[in-house]
Symmetry: C2
Subunit: 612 residues, 2 copies
C-alpha cells in the first residue's frame, strides 16, 4: 500500500453557481479605466479598486491569479529554486547599507513604528535575500543556490495607471541566484531564462526577450521579457536579424571621426527670430545656402536644458546636445541618469543662469568651454552647467548651433576643434530605421508590457552587505548574484490585454477561472435540471465549471456575462433540449449541436484538448 | 476521454536533499527566544527574525505553513465560504468611518503616501469586507454570503513576543458572514464553528472552545478556540460540568443582597501603620477582634486607583473597589474598558488628587459620595474620581475600608446604606475554585494560545458603513454580520508548542515538512546509493522525503538534525546494511529492523497510517 492511492483519487472540479457566486458584472466601463485589461477585469467582477493602484481580488480574479502563481512556482521548483518568504514590512537598516533607502526617493513607502523606528514596505528584496544567505551560508560548498518567493510588494508610484499594470501594491515572483564565480552566475541566468520561456509559453502569453538596462539595480547582463501590446509602457526595438532591446538600452552606433583639417573656421551670423530648429533651418537655407544640398535639422546641434533631481533632493541643471532632428527621450535620459529623475528646466532655472539664452544656447558657455562664469546674483564665480553630447557628435562633425546671444548662431562649429563636452549620453530618441548597434540592420519599434526581467547583478549587493564565502583555497570570496523577477499580477493583466475582444475577456484554458461555462436559458424546470446534471457531470470528470443557474435572468444577460467572464468553452442548455440537443461552443468559435447524452463527454474532450 | 486522467496521474512526492536544501540548524537557542516554538523553529531553520515580531520563512517553515493554509482553505471552501483577497495597504477613510482609525491607537501602523494621503496596514478587514458587499449586493436574495481570505496582517504590538505567537506581521484567515436576520447569522456561526473543529482536528491540534468577550470588536455571541499551553497568553476557566470561558469573559455570580436593618452603624477607628490589606487585617484582629471568627482579607474593601487612557489619548483616573483578598486583573479590567487601556496610577496622579490618601482610600471621597471636591490647585471644584465596584459588593455587605485619612479605617461600612458607586465592573481576578456563573460548579484555571475566534458581530459595521439590502417586502434592512478568524502563523507556532520534546520538533504527519527523513550514516558509497534508492522509491510512491545525503557529516549530527526537524518517520541506512536491514523508526518511538527490499513498502505503509 502506498499513499499515492489516496492522492490519485480523481479530484472533482470546482462547480461555481452564479446564483451564489460572489460576483456582479458591470455594463459600464469604470471611469478611471484607460486600458482593456483594467476595464474588463473590473467589469467582469475579477477585481475592485481599493485605493489608487491598490486592488481587491474577487473570487474569479483570485482563481486566475492562483493559476498564474502555480505555473510560476512549478517552473521555479523544476529548476531547483527553493521557495522562501520575506516580510513586506522591513527595517530601514539593510536598505540604508546599500543606499537604496534614499535612492528610491518618493517611490518608497516609509513609516515609523510606535517606537519611532524607521520601516519601509519593500519594493524589492535584494537586501533581505543577501543577508539571509550570509546568515546561513559560509562556504563555496553551499553554492550554487537559487531562492525565490512569490510575495506582495509596494511601490509608491507617482502615477499608478492601467489597473494591474502599474500598481502600488502588487505580487511579484522574485528569485536570486548565488554563485562563487561568473560562470556559475551565467549558468543560473540561463536556467532562469529557460524557466521564464516555459512559464510564458504555458500561460499562453506571447513575449519578446529584449536587452535591457539595469536601471537603478546595477549589474551587467540583463534582459526583459515584454508582452507586445500597444498599451505597454516599454518601447522596444527589433532588427530583422535578431537584435532586440528595450529602447532604453539601445546604444547609438558611433560614426567614425571626420577629418577637419580643411574645415572652414567657425563664424557667428546674425539669425534674427530663429529660436526653433525649424526657423533656424529656414533662415540658413534662405540666407546662408550651401551649394551641395539644403540644410536640414540634422545639421544643427540642439542644446536642451534639463533639471536633474537626485533621490536626496539635490537638483542641478544639465544641457544635452543632440542633432536638431531628434528629441531628447526622457525615459532614455533617466535610464542613463538613474536613479536621478529629469524634467525640463523651468523659467526660474533660466533666470538663475543668464548665460543660457533661450533658443540660442551653444557650447560656448557650457561644460569645458564655460568654466568659472561670474554669477551676477552673488558676484562670485561658479562652474558652467554640465554638458553631455549625443554619441553621434564625434570629432570633426560640423554644426550650426547657438552663439549664446539673442538672434545669433554660429556656423561650421567643429566638434573637438571648437568645443568639447563633459561626456556623452544616450538620451536622443531612437527612431524606426535607425541602425542596430550590432550591425544587424535597421530597427523597427514596438511597445510591450514588461512581464519579466532577469539580470546578472554581480557583486554589488554581496559587497555592500558583506556576503562572502570561503573558496576552495580557504580564502574569503565575494559571492556573485543574479536577480530574476516576474510581475505576477501584471502578467495576469497582460494576459487579459492579449486575450480579449470587445465583448469581454477570453482566457487561455490554463488560466481561465473555469474550463466550461454552462448556461441554462429558458424557464422550464427541465432545462435547469438538465443543465445542473451536465454541470455536475463535468465537475465529476474533473472539469471546472461555472454554471449560470440564475432563474430570472434573461438569456441575453447570461450570454453577455459569459462573454465578459471569458471562460473558453460554453455549453448552452435551452430550446434545443426539446430536440434532445445542447449547444457546445468555444468562447469565440463555431457552435456544435450535441446530443444531451454525449454532452459531458464532448465538452470534457474539448477541455482536454484546450489543456493539452 | 476526460481531463481527470491527466490529473490523477500519481504525483511524485517532493525529495529534499540536505546537501542542497537551504537550511542550517543552530545548536544554541536564540537569545530572544522565550518559548519552545520560537526556539525550535529558529534552531531548526524554519524561520528567521527580520525585525521585532517580523519573520522570514525558510523552505521548511514555508512547507508547514502551506499545509496549514491548505487545510484552512479546504474547510472554508467545504462550507461554501468564497475566497477573496484584500490589500494590506488601505486608505484611512473606511477606518475613520467606523472609528477604528483612532480606536486602534498605537497598535495601528499608519503611513502617508507621496501625496500625504493617510494609509494604514490593515490589522483586520471588517470595513473592507463590508464595503465590498455593499458595492456588489443589494437584495436579500443575494444572501446568505460568507467570504474569507488568507492574508498578511499588521499590528504594531507594544511587546511582540514568543516568536510567531504575537507578531507584528502575521498571516490570518478571516471570514465574514452576511445575513438578512439573526437566525441566518446563527446558522453561519454554527457552520464556521463546525469548520473550525474540523480544521483543528485535521491539523492535530488540541483545542478548547471558550466563551469570549468581544473586545474592541463589538457584537454578541463570541467564542475563542484556545490551544491549551502553559505559555499561552490567555487564561481560561472550565467547570467539570462543561462551562468554559476566557477569564476575561467570566461573569462573577452576584450573591443575593444582605438585609442590614440590624447592622451596627459605621464607625471610624484609628488604624496606624496599616497601609496594606495584610497589616490592616492583623491590626483589626489584634484591636477589634470579632467574636465569631477572625477578620480576613475578604472582609476588607480594597480601592485600587487606576489611570485609564482612551485611544484618543484622554487619560482619567478610576477607582475599582474589590474584596481585599482579590487583586485587580488588568486584562479583565481592560476587556471591560476596551478599547481603553489601564495602568496603575502614578505618584503624579496621587499628587493631583490629595483626597486619595494612599493606603487609606475609602468610598467617602469617591463617585457619588465625593461629588464636587475643591481642587486646591485651581481653587475650583471638580467631580470626584469615578468609582466602580466588584459585583460581589452587593447591598448590605459590610466592609472594613479606608476612612480617607492617614492611619484611619472605617468599620461596618454597609453597601447601599453607607455608600454607592457609579456602577460595577468585572475587574477582580478569577481564582480556581470560584463558582461558574451558570451554576455548573467550581472553576479550574488553565492557559491557552488563542488560535481561533468566532463571533456574531451583528449590525455594527453594516450600520457604520451603510450596508443595507432590500428585504422581501422591498424595505431597506441592515445586514447582520459574523466575523471568524484563525491566526494561521500562530496555529503553526501552537502546533510546535503542542508537538515537541527537548530534542526538537515532532510534527503531526499532516503538517510536517516531509513524511520521511532518510538518514545515510557511514562512509561507504554503498550506503549512500542504497539510501538514495530508498528516498527515490518513497518519492515515487508519493511520499515527501527529506534525505540527509551530506557526505562528511557525522551520524550524531545527522540524528540531532533529524530530531530537530521533527519529521514523523525516520529511515536509517547504516551499518545494518551489511546484514541487509535498514531501521524504520517514528520520531519518538521504537525502531524496527526492516529488510532492505521491503523498506519502501513498510515506510510508505507507516506514512499512510499516520495520514489516515
Amino acid at each position: 500500500m502506498s499513499i499515492v492511492s489516496a492522492r490519485s483519487a480523481a479530484r472533482r472540479g470546482d462547480l461555481l453557481r452564479l446564483s451564489s457566486l460572489f460576483v456582479r458584472t458591470l455594463r459600464e466601463d469604470p471611469a478611471d479605466a484607460e486600458v482593456a485589461s483594467h476595464r474588463l477585469l473590473v467589469r467582469a467582477g475579477y477585481i475592485r479598486r481599493a485605493a489608487p493602484g491598490v486592488y481587491s481580488w474577487l473570487p474569479l480574479g483570485l482563481r486566475v491569479l492562483a493559476k498564474v502563481e502555480a505555473v510560476v512556482r512549478e517552473e521555479m521548483n523544476a529548476i531547483g529554486a527553493q521557495e522562501v518568504h520575506f516580510p513586506a514590512l522591513l527595517p530601514r537598516e539593510p536598505y540604508e547599507a546599500t543606499g537604496r533607502w534614499s535612492e528610491y526617493g518618493p517611490n518608497l513607502f516609509r513609516l515609523q513604528d510606535r517606537k519611532q523606528a524607521d520601516y519601509l514596505l519593500a519594493p524589492t528584496h535584494e537586501e533581505m535575500f543577501t543577508l539571509l544567505v550570509k546568515d546561513l551560508y559560509s562556504s563555496y560548498k553551499d553554492l550554487p543556490l537559487t531562492l525565490f518567493q512569490i510575495q506582495t510588494k509596494y511601490r509608491d508610484e507617482a502615477r499608478p495607471r492601467a489597473g494591474l499594470i502599474r500598481g502600488r501594491e502588487f505580487v511579484m515572483k522574485d528569485a536570486y541566484s548565488f554563485d562563487i564565480d561568473d560562470d556559475g552566475l551565467a549558468q543560473a541566468y540561463e536556467r532562469q531564462r529557460g524557466a521564464y520561456q516555459r512559464i510564458f509559453d504555458r500561460l499562453g502569453l506571447e513575449y519578446v526577450i529584449v536587452s535591457a538596462t539595469s536601471g537603478a539595480m546595477g549589474g551587467s547582463r540583463s534582459e526583459e521579457f515584454l508582452s507586445p501590446s500597444p498599451i505597454g509602457e516599454d518601447t522596444f526595438v527589433r532588427s530583422a536579424d535578431g537584435y532586440a532591446a528595450n529602447v532604453e538600452a539601445v546604444a547609438t552606433p558611433v560614426p567614425p571621426a571626420v577629418p577637419y583639417d580643411d574645415a572652414p573656421a567657425a563664424h557667428v551670423e546674425d539669425t534674427p527670430d530663429t529660436p526653433t530648429i525649424a526657423t533656424l533651418v529656414d533662415f540658413a537655407n534662405a540666407h546662408h545656402a550651401r551649394g551641395d544640398r539644403p540644410w536640414t535639422a540634422a545639421d544643427t546641434l540642439k542644446n536642451v536644458v534639463l533639471a536633474v533631481t537626485q533621490p536626496d533632493g539635490a537638483r542641478e541643471l544639465l544641457v544635452v546636445g543632440v542633432p536638431g532632428d531628434r528629441e531628447v527621450d526622457v525615459k532614455r535620459l533617466e535610464a542613463a541618469l538613474a536613479p536621478a529623475e529629469a524634467e525640463a528646466a523651468t523659467d526660474a532655472d533660466f533666470a538663475a543662469h543668464p548665460e543660457l539664452v533661450k533658443g540660442y544656447i551653444g557650447p560656448g558657455v557650457l561644460g569645458p568651454q564655460g568654466k568659472q562664469l561670474l554669477d551676477p546674483a552673488t558676484g562670485t564665480t561658479r562652474s558652467a552647467v554640465r554638458y553631455l553630447l549625443d554619441p553621434r557628435v564625434v570629432a570633426g562633425t560640423r554644426w550650426i548651433t547657438g552663439a549664446d546671444a539673442p538672434g545669433q548662431h554660429v556656423f561650421d562649429l567643429v566638434a573637438e576643434r571648437d568645443f568639447t563636452a563633459d561626456g556623452t549620453i544616450e538620451a536622443a530618441e531612437v527612431r524606426a530605421g535607425d541602425l542596430a548597434p550590432d550591425g544587424s540592420g535597421p530597427l523597427e519599434l514596438a511597445r510591450g508590457i514588461e512581464i519579466g526581467h532577469i539580470f546578472q547583478l554581480g557583486r554589488k549587493y554581496a559587497e555592500s552587505l558583506g556576503l562572502n564565502v570561503l573558496d576552495p583555497h580557504g580564502k574569503q570570496t565575494t559571492v556573485t548574484m543574479g536577480s530574476y523577477g516576474i510581475g505576477v499580477t501584471r502578467v495576469l493583466a497582460a494576459l487579459a490585454e492579449a486575450h480579449h475582444d470587445d465583448k469581454g475577456l477570453a482566457w487561455p484554458a490554463h488560466v481561465a477561472p473555469a474550463h466550461v461555462h454552462v448556461v441554462a436559458t429558458g424557464k422550464g424546470a427541465e432545462i435547469f435540471d438538465q443543465a445542473a446534471e451536465i454541470a455536475e457531470g463535468l465537475a465529476d470528470r474533473g472539469v471546472e465549471v461555472i454554471y449560470d443557474d440564475r432563474p430570472k435572468v434573461s438569456p441575453g444577460v447570461k450570454f453577455k456575462d459569459a462573454e465578459l467572464f471569458g471562460v473558453p468553452l460554453l455549453v448552452v442548455v435551452g430550446r434545443g433540449l426539446a430536440d434532445g440537443v445542447v449547444e457546445v461552443r468555444p468562447r469565440a468559435g463555431e457552435a456544435e449541436q450535441v446530443a444531451v447524452a454525449d454532452v459531458v463527454d464532448v465538452a470534457a474532450t474539448r477541455v482536454a484538448e484546450l489543456l493539452a
